[in-house]
């Protein structure tokens, strides 16, 4: 494939119709909250986009993020977008191996210095660099080296964005997210475990169209995809508002599709596009399948209380703590009360009878 091929050529070569392409552009535009009038501009920009070089680094991860993007039931435009980027390095997908693979990375870096995109999935162990190495290079070193010449870094998945599962208490590998190690490059966090495929491709499309990174929220996530909570866009929200809740996964409420808040749904604190973009070509999303949101696109979601514990609940064993406190309070109260009582009785014991001459101060009488 010649390096200068545009996306339009590539799509054409893969049998994607003009109509299908525009549909994709429309969806992207709406996801990115662009007005419909922008669709032709998006299409034009995408058609003309040159193939940028992408270096994909996989660290402490499960390959779920790559799976999410590539393992669709049928080939999609989202997956095809990879055909138009020059994916010069990706463990799982590249044919080369060993020293050849590393040489490809170095070559891509040299040829596109300052222009390539560095995509990372997985967290980086800094507790002991030996926990995860590639070709004898510690993840942290490889990330620093690769990020140095990158135009931007895209942290795909909650591990790369926030540390994810490896970062969960007690974090045995000393895992850190990308943002801990890379501080001088723009970083886009595409969180989720895994992220929604169209969100990944959307960020890449944004880079292709606008040549930069999208507007980010306080957690470094593209605001267009992570601007609203699952709860706000959830189709079960009316049940929450009416106070209709499923109490167990097989009760009448669950069967009627009532709100899963009381079963631990983390929708109210989770910012992601699941409820609108959905999964599996827009088929469904976890809540629609009958399970509460586990908050996978939020930092530390593994440690954010039990998945089945309602969000409003304290995480400690409060009842027991309160019982001990009550006992301690009773004991201390009895002791202090006994002390006051003794003082009072002591005062009463030395009460001095008052006579009529004691009603005025000595100097007055």
């Amino acid at each position: 494939m010649p390096v200068e091929t545009t996306l339009a050529d590539s799509l054409c070569a893969h049998g994607i119709s003009r109509r299908g392409f525009l549909k994709f552009c429309t969806m992207l535009a709406s996801l990115m909250a662009l007005p419909p009038s922008a669709v032709p501009a998006v299409a034009a920009a995408l058609e003309k986009a040159k193939r940028p070089s992408v270096i994909w680094l996989s660290f402490q991860e499960c390959t779920g993020c790559t799976e999410s993007l590539t393992r669709s039931a049928a080939p999609t435009i989202e997956s095809l977008i990879f055909n138009v980027v020059s994916l010069d390095y990706h463990h799982t997908l590249q044919a080369a191996s060993g020293e050849g693979a590393e040489a490809a990375r170095h070559q891509a870096m040299q040829e596109n210095w300052g222009k390539y995109l560095c995509v990372v999935d997985g967290s980086i162990p800094i507790g002991n660099p030996g926990y995860s190495t590639i070709a004898g290079v510690a993840n942290a070193d490889m990330l620093r080296e690769t990020a140095e010449g990158a135009a931007a870094v895209v942290a795909v998945g909650s591990c790369a964005a926030f540390g994810g599962l490896p970062y969960a208490d007690p974090n045995p590998t000393g895992a850190v997210p990308v943002s801990e190690l890379v501080t001088d490059k723009p970083i886009v966090n595409v969180s989720g475990c895994p992220p929604i495929p169209v969100v990944i491709s959307g960020v890449l499309a944004h880079f292709l169209i606008f040549g930069g990174i999208p507007e980010l929220d306080t957690l470094g996530r593209p605001r267009v995809f992570y601007g609203q909570t699952i709860h706000d866009r959830c189709y079960r929200r009316p049940f929450y508002d009416k106070g209709l809740f499923a109490r167990s996964f097989d009760d009448e409420g669950a069967k009627r599709g009532w709100c899963l808040y009381t079963l631990g749904c983390k929708g109210p604190m989770t910012y992601n596009a699941c409820a609108t973009a959905k999964w599996n070509q827009g088929t469904s999303f976890p809540i629609e399948a009958g399970h509460g949101c586990i908050g996978c696109s939020q930092p530390n979601f593994w440690d954010a209380g039990g998945f089945y514990q309602p969000l409003s609940l304290p995480t400690g064993a409060v009842t027991q703590t309160a019982a001990y406190a009550a006992a301690a309070g009773a004991a201390a109260g009895l002791a202090a009360g006994a002390l006051y009582r003794r003082h009072k009785h002591a005062r009463q014991a030395v009460h001095e009878s008052v006579t009529v001459d004691d009603l005025e101060k000595p100097d007055k009488s």
Binding site: H343, K344, S353, T355, V356, D358, L359, E360, K361
Partner: protein
């Protein structure tokens, strides 16, 4: 009576504090008085200010200082600093504002002049604070600290040393008895051992309203019950309760109790006087630390019993428009609400009720010792406007009450505001309507 023993300073007792009133003795008294109810009241107050609107000293002056709960501020701080953990801690590290003599001096007006112990505030407090219970106890400390008003100190001295706050002596009573006997043609029994009832009086009844003695004589004659007056204890009022000095109150009460025991009466009749009833009926056994071997009844309770037993036979009826002024202590400390109304209906046809009456009545403005405080006179007359408003709304021709102190205060108020309103005691009114002897 042996007043010498009381006024003499017993040697050796000055170890705790020097003789005479002092801040230390006052603080000591506060701490002796604070109990679980007071602690619960202070813990509950949210400064809603509703008690202000239950107090005639506030409603008639609109001065927020007269808000009942505010009158207890020094007592509250004593409680906080001595009987709560954080208060004690704050005191130890010097963060608590101590209760000073100057402060108590400033509070004298609030605790005495502007509180008649009427107890209305205790009935409106939404968190249930019994504010009057606290004011009564706060006076213990105020008196011990030497901040009781001069008028009350004088009345108390008089009561202890001379047997009556107004200086009424036995000879005065004897003169009034002779007068009553001549008027009624009946014998007034004196020191009769074994009589059923012992009657005691407020000095004001002896001096200003001897008609009350005559009324009792005639009613008891008709009812055919035996009764007596004691030459040793005829004074019912208790300046010790008003000034807030339990030791002196106990001494005054013990005189009545001794006389009643000596005459072996079954019942002591509290006269038409509110605080005498409070003192004798409710505080007495607690101050003397023993239950009485006799009963205590307010005269209205007794009259209603006689009526129910058919021993009170009345005739004719007043047709003038009249109303009944409830003495505070009688309704809010004794629950005697229905009895006077039942009795009044027997002798009056046109009875109207004030807009707030019974347990929610308004005080005359002179109870709780206020009428004995000279410096409080202007304030008391201002507060009387509350009663005046109530009376003006009704346009009555006569006011009936059952408390000699209320009656004196009301008469002064009526005079001061140039109102035309004759007053009568209920017992007296009933006696006027007794059936003729056959």
């Amino acid at each position: 009576m042996n007043t010498q023993a009381l006024t003499d300073t017993a040697p050796g007792t000055a170890a705790v504090a020097p003789r005479g009133a002092s801040l230390e003795r006052g603080r000591h008294a506060f701490l002796e008085e604070i109990d679980a109810p007071i602690a619960s009241f202070f813990s509950s107050c949210v400064r809603c200010g509703l008690c202000a609107h239950a107090c005639l000293f506030y409603t008639e002056t609109e001065d927020p200082r007269y808000t009942p709960i505010h009158k207890l501020e020094p007592l509250r701080r004593m409680w906080r600093q001595e009987y709560t953990f954080w208060g004690k801690l704050a005191k130890r590290v010097g963060l608590a504002k101590p209760v000073t003599d100057d402060e108590l001096a400033a509070w004298s007006e609030l605790v005495y002049d502007s509180c008649t112990l009427c107890g209305r505030c205790s009935r409106v407090c939404p968190v249930g604070n019994d504010i009057v219970y606290m004011v009564r106890r706060m006076r213990e400390g105020m008196a011990a600290a030497g901040h009781a008003p001069a008028g009350l100190v004088r009345a108390t001295r008089n009561a202890i040393l001379n047997g009556s706050p107004m200086g009424v002596k036995l000879v005065t009573l004897e003169a009034q008895i002779r007068h009553v006997e001549k008027e009624t043609g009946l014998t007034v029994p004196l020191d009769q051992v074994g009589a059923e009832y012992l009657a005691i009086f407020s000095s004001m009844e002896i001096v200003n309203y001897p008609e009350y003695i005559a009324a009792l004589t005639r009613i008891f004659e008709q009812a055919g019950v035996t009764w007596t007056i004691s030459s040793e204890a005829f004074e019912a009022t208790n300046a010790g309760i008003q000034i807030g000095q339990s030791d002196l109150a106990a001494e005054l009460l013990s005189r009545i109790v001794k006389a009643a025991e000596k005459l072996k009466v079954k019942t002591v009749i509290s006269p038409e006087c509110g605080h005498a009833y409070l003192a004798l009926r409710w505080e007495g056994p607690n101050l003397l630390k023993r239950a009485y071997p006799f009963q205590v009844k307010h005269i209205l309770e007794l009259l209603d019993e006689l009526r129910a037993a058919g021993k009170l036979r009345l005739r004719d009826s007043e047709d003038s428009r009249l109303t009944f002024h409830d003495p505070c202590q009688l309704v809010r400390q004794g629950g005697v609400v229905q009895e006077p109304r039942t009795l009044l209906k027997l002798v009056a046809s046109d009875i109207v009720e004030m807009n707030e009456t019974g347990v929610m009545n308004w005080c005359c403005g002179g109870g709780g010792g206020v009428s004995a405080i000279e410096r409080a006179e202007n304030l008391r007359l201002k507060a009387f406007r509350r009663k005046k408003t109530q009376l003006d709304e009704l346009g009555v021709e006569m006011l009936v009450t059952a408390c000699a102190n209320c009656r004196v205060v009301l008469e002064e108020g009526v005079d001061a505001y140039n109102m035309e309103l004759p007053m009568v005691g209920l017992t007296e009114l009933l006696a006027e309507h007794l059936e003729e002897r056959p």
